[in-house]
C-alpha cells in the first residue's frame, strides 16, 4: 500500500469542492482553516505540486479568467494516471520497440505514468521558481513527449466533465461558453444564427440525473 498523499491547496482557489474517492463515492472536502486536502491516487504531494505549477503556466489564471489551478487540472491528471490509461491498457505495447519515422508517432516503451515520473524528475525545483523561469524551463522541453502530454492533459482537465476530477464547478465550460451535454438543440440550431447562445452549463450528472463513472474508475 502506498502512503496516503494529499494535495493541499487554498480552498478559494478551487472552483468546486465535490470530489470522488477511488471507490467512486462522492465526498465533500471540508475547507478547514482556508485549505482543502485532496487525497491523491498516483502522485506524491511533491509531484502534484510540480505538475500543478506547470499546468498553471500552460493555462494560467489571469485577468482573462481562471485557469488550470481553479479547475483542478492536477486532480484530473492524477486520476487519469492512476487508472488504466496511465498503465497503457489501450496502447499497443508489444515489442520490439524500435525508433521509427515521425509519421508513426510515439513508439516508446514508457507508459504515461513513467513519462510523468521522469518528466517531473527533470523539472526538479520547478514549483519554487518564479514564473518567468518556469516558462523558460517549459520552453526548453516543448518538443518532448512529456510536455505534449502535459499540454493535452491540461486542456482535457480544463474542459472535460467534472466527473473526471477537473473542470471544477464547471468553471472551464463557463469560461468558454460551452453548455455541456444538452439533450436537444432542435429549437436552437436554426435560430441564433450569428448570435451567441450561452445557457448555464450543466454536467452529465446534472443532465441525466444519474451518477456516471469515468473510464478511469474501471478496475482491471
Amino acid at each position: 500500500m502506498r502512503r496516503r498523499e494529499f494535495l493541499t491547496m487554498p480552498a478559494k482557489s478551487l472552483g468546486g469542492l465535490l470530489l470522488y474517492t477511488l471507490a467512486g463515492e462522492p465526498v465533500r472536502v471540508q475547507a478547514q482553516d482556508g485549505t482543502v486536502r485532496v487525497p491523491l491516487r498516483f502522485f506524491t504531494a511533491d509531484e502534484a505540486r510540480v505538475v500543478a505549477a506547470a499546468c498553471e503556466r500552460i493555462f494560467p489564471s489571469d485577468e482573462n479568467g481562471p485557469g488550470a489551478t481553479e479547475t483542478g487540472v492536477v486532480i484530473y491528471i492524477d486520476r487519469q494516471l492512476a487508472g488504466p490509461y496511465g498503465r497503457d491498457r489501450y496502447r499497443y505495447t508489444k515489442g520490439p520497440f524500435v525508433e521509427s519515422v515521425p509519421e508513426h508517432g510515439y513508439q516508446g516503451q514508457a507508459n504515461p505514468r513513467e513519462i510523468y515520473r521522469e518528466g517531473i524528475r527533470l523539472l526538479g525545483d520547478f514549483a519554487d521558481l518564479p514564473a518567468a523561469q518556469q516558462d523558460e524551463r517549459l520552453q526548453a522541453i516543448e518538443q518532448t513527449v512529456f510536455f505534449q502530454m502535459l499540454r493535452a492533459h491540461t486542456i482535457e482537465g480544463m474542459f472535460s466533465d467534472p466527473m473526471h476530477g477537473g473542470n471544477a464547478g464547471l468553471i472551464g465550460w463557463q469560461l468558454i461558453g460551452f453548455p455541456g451535454p444538452v439533450m436537444s438543440y432542435r429549437d436552437e440550431i436554426d435560430r441564433y444564427h450569428g448570435l451567441p447562445w450561452r445557457p448555464k452549463p450543466k454536467s452529465l450528472e446534472q443532465v441525466t440525473r444519474r451518477r456516471v463513472k469515468g473510464w478511469e474508475e474501471e478496475v482491471d
Binding site: F159, S160, M163, L175, E188, I189, L204, V207
Partner: protein, 583 residues
C-alpha cells in the same frame, strides 16, 4: 478444440455489413445464421449516459482496443514497418454494430464513373499513357446496376437529403452532378446551422452548386420498409465517436438488430474472436474462434461470410491461406492489393460572429460536387480526379476544438498570450474541407507483418502505403479552391492545412480504408466476383469496403451497404438455391 454443430451460414463481424447480410438471409430464407462478433453487445439504452467527450471522443471508449490488435505501417516495400501503437488516422470499431455505432452518418453515393474508372479513362484519354504505377480497375458492377441497392440502403437508414438528379431531371438545390436517382430521398434535409447558411451563400457566390450533405441522421421521425421507427435528430453534437441515445442516427443496433431479434434462425455470439477460416479443396469448412472464456471453438458451416471490415477481411484470408497474396515486386497475386485511404485538405476560417458550433449532428453540412470526378479537369492540371468540398456542423466539443488561433497571433500554443487569443476566437472558427478520390497504386497494399503479433500471437496486418505526387497535387488543388471559398466567407483570418507530405498514422483522416479483397470481372485481377463471392472458394463471401478497387470521393458506407444488398440478393435468389460459383 470444441467442435460445434454445423450451421448453414457463419458470419464473422457484427457491424453494418455482417448484420445486413444476416438480416437479408434470415428474413428471406430458412437458413440458420450465426454471427460471431468479438466485441461486446450494444444497444441504444447504453448511450443514455455517454455524452462525455473525454471517454468517448478522446480516449475512444467504443473503439477496438488497439492493445490487443493493431496493424503495422511502412511507406514503401523498402522500409521496415512500425506498429500503429495508438489510434490515429482511422478508428476501427468493435462490438455489435461495429464502427456503424459511432460513425457520422454522411451518406453520399459515388459518381457513376468511379465504378468503371479504367474503362472511363480509356475512353477519355485513348491510348495516352497514365502513370505506370496506377492500379485502377473497373468494379464489375455499374452505377445503374447498383442504383436500386443504393435506394434500398437509403430507405433502410431513412437518409435525409435532397435529390439533384431524378431520373435525369436536374433539380436546383440538390447535387446536380450526381448519377440519376430513381427516387427522392426518404426524408427531407436536416435543418441549417449558421455555418451551413454561410457556406451555402459563399459557394453560390462563387458559382458552385451547394446541396445539403445526405445524412443517415434523420431530419424527422421515419419508419423504414422493415417497420422500424426512429425519431428525428436532436442536433445534440455528441454524434460521431458516440452512439445516438435516441436512435436518430442509423446504426446497426437500431435498424437491423430489432429485425434480427425476432428471427428464430439467427444467433449472435459476442466476445468471439475469429482466427481462421478452415478450408479444404477450394471449400470453406467453418471458422475457428476464441470464445469469451478463452476456449478455442470450431463452428462448421455450409457457407462462410467475412464481414469484419477491410483490415480483418484481408487479414483473415491471409492468415487462413486462402488465395494468392499480392507480390508488389512481380505484380502477381491478388489478395491484399489496391489499398486506399482518402485524400483530404482543410482550412480553418476565423469569422467575426459566434457559430454556436457545439450544436450539430454528425452529418449536418453542405457540400458541392462541381469539381468531383474529372468532368471539370483536363490532363494539364496534373490532377486525374478531383473531389467534393464541404463544411460540417458536427458539434464542436471543447477538448478537441479549443485553442485555435489565427496564424501569427500567438507565438506558442500554451501560456497567457495563447490563452487570451484562443478565448477571443473560441466559437468563431469554421472548418471547410476537401475530400478527394484516392486512386489505387501498385505499391500500396497489405500483407502479413513478419515481426509483430496480436494478443493471440497471430501476425499483424502490414500496410504499405504512401501518398504519391498525384495526391499531393490533388490536395494542393483542393487547397486552392478552399482558400477561395474561405475568402468568400468574409473571414478575419484563414489557416490552410499544410501541404500533403508523407502518409502519417498520427492524424485522423477518416475510417475509410479500402481494398485488399477487391471485386472485379476476372479471377486474375480480383479476389471476389461482382457479387462479393470468392472466385476460387465459392462458399466464401467477403463483404465490405475491402472490395473497393479504388476509392470514391465520398464516405464509403452507403456504397458498402448497396454492395451488400446486391451480394445478399445473389446469395438468396441464386446461390442458396444452387450453391456454387455464380460466375
Amino acid at each position: 478444440m470444441r467442435r460445434l454443430k454445423p450451421v448453414d451460414v457463419v458470419i464473422v463481424g457484427g457491424g453494418w455489413t455482417g448484420l445486413l447480410m444476416a438480416k437479408e438471409i434470415t428474413s428471406r430464407t430458412a437458413l440458420s445464421v450465426v454471427v460471431l462478433e468479438r466485441g461486446p453487445a450494444r444497444k441504444t439504452e447504453d448511450y443514455a449516459t455517454t455524452m462525455d467527450e473525454l471517454d468517448y471522443a478522446i480516449r475512444l471508449r467504443l473503439m477496438q482496443n488497439i492493445a490487443e490488435e493493431t496493424v503495422t505501417h511502412r511507406h514503401s516495400s523498402a522500409d521496415r514497418a512500425g506498429p500503429i501503437r495508438q489510434h490515429g488516422s482511422f478508428l476501427p470499431g468493435t462490438g455489435v454494430g461495429g464502427a456503424g455505432e459511432h460513425w457520422n452518418g454522411i451518406s453520399y453515393r459515388f459518381l457513376p464513373d468511379v465504378f468503371t474508372l479504367a474503362t472511363h479513362w480509356r475512353e477519355k484519354y485513348g491510348r495516352a499513357p497514365l502513370p505506370e504505377e496506377l492500379a485502377v480497375e473497373d468494379w464489375g458492377v455499374t452505377y445503374e446496376e447498383l442504383e436500386p441497392c443504393y435506394w434500398r440502403a437509403e430507405q433502410m437508414m431513412g437518409v435525409s437529403g435532397k435529390a439533384g438528379n431524378l431520373r435525369g431531371r436536374l433539380i436546383e438545390g440538390g447535387n446536380v452532378f450526381e448519377g440519376p436517382r430513381s427516387q427522392e430521398y426518404p426524408t427531407p434535409p436536416l435543418k441549417s446551422s449558421y455555418l451551413s447558411t454561410l457556406f451555402r451563400k459563399a459557394a453560390l457566390d462563387l458559382g458552385y452548386h451547394p446541396y445539403p450533405a445526405p445524412a443517415a441522421n434523420l431530419s424527422e421521425s421515419y419508419t423504414n420498409p422493415d417497420g422500424i421507427s426512429r425519431p428525428g435528430c436532436a442536433y445534440c453534437g455528441y454524434c460521431e465517436r458516440f452512439g445516438c441515445m435516441i436512435g436518430a442516427k442509423a446504426q446497426p443496433t437500431n435498424t437491423l438488430l430489432p429485425v434480427l431479434a425476432r428471427k428464430k434462425n439467427f444467433t449472435l455470439r459476442t466476445g468471439c474472436w475469429a482466427r481462421r477460416v478452415t478450408h479444404r479443396d477450394g471449400r470453406a469448412e467453418g471458422v475457428v474462434y476464441v470464445g469469451p472464456a478463452g476456449e478455442e471453438v470450431l463452428q462448421p458451416a455450409q457457407t462462410v461470410v467475412l464481414a469484419s471490415w477491410t483490415l480483418n477481411n484481408t487479414r483473415l484470408l491471409l492468415l487462413s491461406g486462402i488465395g494468392e497474396p499480392y507480390d508488389a515486386a512481380s505484380g502477381k497475386g491478388t489478395l491484399g492489393k489496391n489499398l486506399t485511404h482518402q485524400v483530404g485538405a482543410g482550412a480553418q476560417v476565423f469569422l467575426d460572429k459566434p457559430l454556436n458550433a457545439f450544436m450539430g449532428s454528425g452529418s449536418l453540412g453542405v457540400a458541392f460536387a462541381d469539381l468531383d470526378g474529372d468532368r471539370a479537369l483536363d490532363r494539364s492540371s496534373g490532377v486525374l480526379r478531383g473531389g467534393h468540398f464541404q463544411t460540417g456542423s458536427t458539434g464542436n466539443r471543447p477538448i478537441a476544438t479549443f485553442g485555435a488561433t489565427p496564424p501569427g497571433e500567438a507565438e506558442s500554443n500554451w501560456g497567457a498570450a495563447w490563452k487570451k487569443a484562443a478565448l477571443a476566437w473560441r466559437d468563431k472558427v469554421a472548418g471547410v474541407g476537401f475530400s478527394g478520390e484516392h486512386l489505387s497504386y501498385r505499391q500500396n497494399y497489405m500483407d502479413l507483418d513478419p515481426t509483430y503479433t496480436d494478443k493471440h500471437g497471430d501476425r499483424l496486418l502490414r500496410l504499405t502505403l504512401d501518398w504519391t505526387e498525384h495526391e499531393r497535387r490533388q490536395a494542393a488543388y483542393g487547397g486552392g479552391i478552399l482558400a477561395e471559398l474561405a475568402k468568400a466567407l468574409g473571414p478575419k483570418a484563414i489557416n490552410l492545412s499544410p501541404p500533403l507530405g508523407r502518409y502519417t498514422v498520427t492524424r485522423y483522416q477518416g475510417t475509410h480504408i479500402q481494398g485488399g479483397v477487391i471485386m472485379g470481372g476476372s479471377p486474375e485481377r480480383s479476389v471476389v466476383n461482382p457479387y462479393l463471392q470468392h472466385w476460387r472458394t465459392p462458399n466464401l463471401w467477403v463483404v465490405g469496403a475491402s472490395a473497393f478497387p479504388q476509392n470514391g470521393s465520398g464516405n464509403p458506407t452507403l456504397t458498402v451497404l448497396a454492395l451488400t444488398y446486391r451480394a445478399a440478393d445473389a446469395f438468396v435468389d441464386r446461390y442458396s438455391k444452387r450453391p456454387g460459383a455464380l460466375l
